[in-house]
């Protein structure tokens, strides 16, 4: 797109986020998110359809499926959610509670992007059934800020450039938080061990370790 003022009249107005050809990057991202939500919803309704089509009187019917509400304690708030038996915590957090800070990475309990705390211990929420978290405290990265103030670990990750592309950052922060809760003055080796279940495709490990170490000093 030309930035020459004389041609501007014949051009569509420049998109807000800075000069990409239309459709703008923002629109593409919105479209992708919408598409994912539609896909997720379609999947959930498809289950209900299947359940209602089931003629086995002993099988759970629509009512049981739909009323399959669980009471979850997420970031200190009580949330009631309809949850399928096979639904995983990362799915519930992202697609039902809108807590998209928790990421799906590998979806195979290997990369750690989905790390959240259940009763203070880090687990892979991509491989943890939501119903197993009933009665326990779930903490996601959204639960770290208090009264508009970021958690010292979050500040530290910003300060020390702990996030490069930052896709792994929420998981890294949750693993780091779990470490600092048990050990407020960890050694570099202990930090490496605590973050060993979190992969960073950017290879930004040095700064991630640095971020946790400097957060430990500031806590």
């Amino acid at each position: 797109m030309s930035s020459d003022g004389t041609e501007a009249d014949s051009e569509p107005p420049a998109p807000e986020d800075g000069g990409f050809d239309s459709p703008s990057r923002r629109e593409v991202i919105k479209g992708a998110i919408g598409g994912t939500l539609i896909a997720a919803n379609a999947y959930l309704f498809q289950n209900i359809g299947e359940a209602s089509a089931d003629t086995d009187p002993e099988a759970p019917g629509v009512r049981e499926r739909v009323s399959n509400q669980l009471k979850l304690d997420v970031n200190g708030r009580t949330r009631f959610v309809s949850v399928e038996d096979q639904e995983r915590l990362a799915e519930t957090l992202r697609y039902k509670l809108g807590l998209t800070g928790t990421k799906f990475g590998c979806d195979r309990a290997m990369c750690g992007a989905c790390t959240v705390q259940v009763d203070g211990e880090p687990i892979y929420s991509c491989s943890y059934f939501t119903r197993d978290a009933v009665g326990q405290e779930i903490t996601t990265v959204e639960g770290l800020e208090e009264n508009g103030e970021l958690h010292p670990l979050q500040e530290s990750f910003i300060e020390n450039l702990g996030g490069q592309c930052a896709y792994c950052t929420p998981g890294m922060i949750m693993s780091g938080k779990s470490l600092l809760e048990e050990n407020s003055d960890p050694s570099r080796e202990e930090v490496k061990e605590a973050l060993s279940g979190n992969l960073c495709r950017c290879g930004n490990y040095e700064r991630e370790i640095e971020s946790v170490l400097s957060a430990a000093e500031n806590l």
Binding site: T36, Q86, D107, G112, I123, Y124, S175
Partner: protein, 329 residues
Amino acid sequence: MQQDMIPPLTHVDATSVDDAVATLQEHGTDAATIAGNTDEINWMKNRMRTPEVLVDLKGIDEMRGIESTSDGGVRIGALTTLSNVVDSDAVNAGFSVIADAAGEIATPQIRNQGTIGGNITQDSRCWYYRNGFDCYRAGGNTCYAITGESRDHAVTDYSRCITAHPSDGAVALMALEAEVVIEGPRGTRREPLSDFFVGPEENITVMNDLAHEEILTHIEVPSTWSGASFYYEKVTDRESWDFPIVNIAAAIQTSGGSVSDVRIVSNGLAPTPKRLRNAESAITGQQITESNAASAAGTVLPNAAPQPDNRFKLGLAENLTERALLGAE
């Protein structure tokens, strides 16, 4: 980036071991058992296994926890998480090699979720088997690893299937002569871990003799090796976390400066945890000196038949044996 939703299923929380066994009997092969659920769930995501009923053992309290037994041993509930095994005072008091091994399993997240029972009953990690190839283990008629990539596979004791046993916990427990307690439709049975694991010549589709309706409830470690000298080491491709290429656990008892009894167990070499009996008998009765350790380690795998790309495991096994004998404390 959602990949595979798990198909609909019914999740049943077992309330007791008997309840779990009854549910498994009722649903037969439509049912699968889960506990820590760090592995089974990924088979389901891959649609490689599509159980209609999941029998969840997590709620069975009698299968959880670690206690010292009256005779000085330790009894570990199969549902105990690996993190709890690592932190257990009863384990660390006399059997620290179990905690050393459990501490090197996978990642902190998986150790918080995964159980010691699941660790020793885990399935093969062969990438062909896990990726849907119709190999011997999957009921087919060939082994893709023999003609393909076999770097992580077995070098000895295999038969058609060359998978290597991947468990870290199993070698430590087997070095201590642990027994497993199994409950099933015909009541309770117990057997030493060395009989529990099944090689492909006996049954090529399984890793152990646990039947579908049976449940591993406890692992019992006798007092025999309490306070002995221990060694554990795991060699992996990556420094952070991985399955072992080869791991080794050793328990050594000495009297009057020479070895009175020793057990060395290694994984990554055979389809079942491999006792290195040659090295054990070579060092028994000897003093542990550098030359004695080196000569005992020179004969660890007499019947090895490696593939071209895993021949390196023979040297690795010898070096690890030598280090275990010299480094046990």
